[in-house]
């Protein structure tokens, strides 16, 4: 069973192969996405986060989930040496991890309902259960210079994936004297224990440039694949264990 909706102004899909899969259960995942969006969106004037940002409420009024997301933002800022900073400029903007947080929560919900064979996706970030016994879901990494082309295929089970980057027009921005693109990376894809961690680390690693690959390398349970501005692919050492052999 596969269901697609728009959530957080982005396309989302939930696929479940479990025999007891139902539209009701999959609908609950989208309902959860909408709840997370209404609570944490900085683009909605009436959201609790927007009210906090305008000083209309204090952290004392945060509920348990809001405290959790705040703590996660602080933790991520520490872990990424400030490259992921939800508190930049003295404000609070959890947008950088809300999508991954929502996907992880969706996966938890499905597991609690007895699902094992599922794939949840919001706009290219996702979390995979198993596809069938012992096999994973095949996820293609698109070429940031031509998003209709797949340049790597990985097989994922019980982990998350997220890509951060600048699609398609990157090569138009060049240093006029070297004729080389002005940014080191066009995109970086991170595979981590869940969608939340993949999202947090992909965002930070992209801002770091090629040093982002070293950052992911240091996390022994993560892997990354980057497309550099000069149109080459670079993988961390653990990426190979996820890779599906080329040109199947």
């Amino acid at each position: 069973m596969r269901m697609t909706r728009t959530t957080m102004a982005m396309p989302a899909a939930v696929t479940a192969l479990d025999a007891h899969a139902s539209a009701d259960d999959l609908g609950r995942v989208f309902h959860l996405f909408d709840e997370v969006d209404q609570k944490f969106s900085v683009f909605r004037d009436e959201s609790p986060v927007s009210k906090y940002r305008r000083g209309e409420r204090t952290r004392d009024s945060f509920d348990e989930e809001e405290r959790h997301v705040w703590d996660l933002c602080e933790q991520t800022k520490r872990e990424t040496d400030g490259y992921f900073d939800a508190f930049y400029g003295g404000t609070y903007d959890p947008t950088g991890l809300v999508k991954g947080y929502a996907i992880r929560r969706g996966a938890e919900l499905l597991r609690s309902l007895g699902y094992r064979q599922f794939l949840i996706e919001i706009a290219g970030d996702g979390e995979a259960g198993e596809k069938s016994r012992g096999t994973g879901w095949k996820v293609g990494i698109s070429n940031p210079f031509n998003t209709r082309e797949i340049v790597k295929v990985v097989q994922l089970s019980n982990c998350g994936i997220a890509t951060s980057g600048i699609a398609e027009h990157l090569d138009h921005i060049v240093d006029p004297h070297t004729h080389q693109p002005a940014h080191e990376l066009a995109s970086i894809t991170v595979i981590a224990q869940d969608a939340e961690e993949a999202d947090r680390f992909a965002t930070a690693a992209f801002s770091m440039g090629t040093a982002g690959l070293a950052f992911v390398e240091q996390h022994t349970h993560c892997a990354a694949y980057a497309v550099t501005a000069d149109r080459r692919g670079v993988a961390t050492t653990r990426f190979k264990s996820y890779e599906v052999a080329s040109n199947l």
Binding site: M10, L119, E121, V153, I166, S207, V227, T237
Partner: protein, 177 residues
Amino acid sequence: MKKYAQFTLVIVAFFLLVWIRQGESNSEHTVALSPQQASLVASAPPGNAIASPAAPPPSNPTPTPTPTAAAQTTTPTPTPAPKGQYRDGTYTGSVADAFYGNMQVQAVISGGRLTAVNILQYPNDNGTSRSINSQAIPILQSEALQAQSANIDMVSGASASSPAFQQSLQSALSQAS
């Protein structure tokens, strides 16, 4: 006996593979990750060494206007003279709407060249441009991009922030010219 033959074949195949991979890796580019690279520095490629101010001086002590034969072979296209250089300084681009949030970049011009692009605001993180202290610095090999078959369940890819990045950077560069 048959098992022994199979085992031998596997061992031979393994060493053959290792030997081939070593040959490949010698011809592959390597990406050395250094902390200095963390500030998104636009570096001159070896092929454009003639046009680059950072190019090593030619072995001939008297400067000659014609490129050396070795350099010619590595320069596939004629390189325009470095005219219209930017004014040195740090220029902050406009805040551009990147759909998921705001994009704002800063262009650093040094010696008339664009030497760094710092991301002040990125739609997903509001990331700063501070440098990172890399503890482990692995040498990772890069490879050419190769199209794969599309037999997949999902696509993970870069999102729609590119026009905003371009808009912000162009506004920073226009201040420098």
